[in-house]
Amino acid sequence: MDNSLEISETPHLRVRGLNVYYNGHHALKNISLDIPDKKITAIIGPSGCGKSTLLRTFNRLIDTIEGVKVKGEVMIDGVNIYDPKVEVTAIRRKMGLLSQRPCPLPMSIFDNVAYGPRIHGERGRQNLRNIVESNLRHVGLWEEVQDRLHKPASELSIGQQQRLCLARGLAVEPEIILGDESTSALDPVSSKKVEERFLELKNEYTIILVTHILRQAKRLADYVVFLYMGELIEHGPAAELFANPKESLTREYLTGIIS
């Protein structure tokens, strides 16, 4: 398939020999894979298989947990992010995170989006206003909130909050968007809106989603990674992997024998 050829040629994120130990428990076992550029990659697998852990190693949020040891390399733009010389905040800036439950910061809608740019030194009022507007438009929230930008973010509905969080992530101009079960706390309508954003955004960003909903992976993903008990069982272009999985474990998972 020419599609698969294109994918393997331009990886955005390279993982090589990645091992994660959590208080002696071997949570991720020797994982090597390439995440394609400007595509949606879905990480699937039964709960507790290490999906979220893998995602958290990509932006080093895994550092905030006591007793975790990471071995191996995660390369982005040719730089190993676990290199001690690397600036963590710069790495994290390259990746927007959309967590499971929407998590607005305790401030106004405007300040939520402006939070990242301000931290990275943007002070101009007009610039900030432009950044906020364009990113809120980007996630389709501008129309809904433009006349109450300075109201607390906590007053938005859950679905709106999740899109606000997406806008907040985009405002620091990341290259990659990480989604950790980003729709699982939302109602079907909001869920659909967020999925539509993902499909639009993949033209500009590399998107990595963790999901336990197989159908969502089928709807969105160009590339699929299947994890089981901390091991990388199979990965490949979505169409191929869903149509004829090579490994029996993958087949069993896809047909619902293991879950």
């Binding site: 006591e66 995170l97 439950r101 401030m107 992530g169």
Partner: protein, 283 residues
């Protein structure tokens, strides 16, 4: 009526009696303070300092102690907030989740919380003598700040521990560092808790007597600088109740009423403000 019904009824009566007994004790204390304090209260009592010595002089009021208590409690609360807020932010943001050091420090605050104020007083006194200084408002503030620090930290920490980990993730993942996350996000999310903790600590500081006894001294004058000794309401009660003169004892009664009213007001304020300030708080 079978036996198990009788048993239940018996214990229910006992439980109600016990609860009523506690209520009665509370009312008795308030009643005593009001019964003796109210007749002793007057403008002169509130606005003038004792004349002719607090132990012997029959004229004047307790303005020295009111002002002293206010200075001391404000000072001690501010100092302990300046120490306590960074410490709780470190516990909840800087240290990793499940950190052993954080666990140890939380435990040590739990234990410190149980240390009686006289021990802090003796320690502060020792330190003060070691530095060759004398009892003053400054030393009172330092010592009482230590007394209220554990309560302050525990109260703020309790609120910060409730903050979900995702909030920290959200801030870090746009490239904020830990400092920015701590002060811009955590401190803001915990604001209602911080205000409540501050008010609780203020109440404790205002009511403390044992630590103040060693380090703050007592004087008839209204304090004008940190280096002077200062009078406080609890000690005004303690010293003036023991005199043989009824006129002086009046000052103790009035002090008790003022102090109790102050502390109850602060405690009610703590309950109310907690809910008022939660506008930006994410639930």
């Amino acid at each position: 009526m079978n036996w198990r019904k009788i048993e239940e009824e018996f214990f229910l009566v006992m439980m109600r009696l016990a609860s009523l007994l506690i209520l009665a004790a509370f009312l008795a204390i308030m009643g005593t303070v009001i019964y003796y304090g109210l007749p002793a209260l007057s403008w002169e009592m509130i606005f003038s300092a004792p004349k002719g010595g607090f132990y012997l002089g029959k004229e004047g009021g307790v303005a020295n102690a009111i002002v002293g208590t206010f200075y001391l409690a404000c000072g001690a609360t501010i100092v302990s907030l300046i120490i306590g807020l960074p410490v709780t932010l470190v516990l909840n943001v800087f240290l990793k989740r499940g950190s052993k050091l954080a666990e140890f420090i939380r435990f040590s605050f739990d234990v410190l919380w149980g240390v009686p104020s006289i021990v802090y007083g003796a320690f502060g006194f020792t330190l003060m003598l070691y530095m060759g200084m004398r009892a003053s408002l400054l030393w009172g503030i330092i010592t009482v700040a230590l007394v209220v620090l554990p309560a302050m930290c525990r109260a703020i920490d309790e609120v910060m521990r409730m903050i979900p980990g995702e909030l920290q993730d959200a801030s870090l993942s746009v490239g904020a560092n830990k400092c920015e996350t701590a002060f811009k996000v955590f401190a803001r999310q915990a604001l209602p808790g911080i205000v409540t903790a501050t008010l609780i600590s203020f109440g404790r500081a205002a009511g403390d007597a044992a630590a103040v006894l060693f380090t703050t001294g007592f004087t008839d004058a209204v304090p004008t600088s940190l280096a002077e000794p200062a009078a406080t309401l609890p000690l005004a009660i303690f010293f003036q109740l023991g005199t043989p003169f009824p006129e002086v004892q009046q000052r103790a009664y009035a002090s008790a009423l003022i102090l109790t009213a102050l502390i109850l007001l602060v405690s009610i304020a703590a309950r109310l403000t907690g809910s008022r300030l939660s506008k930006y708080v994410i639930k």
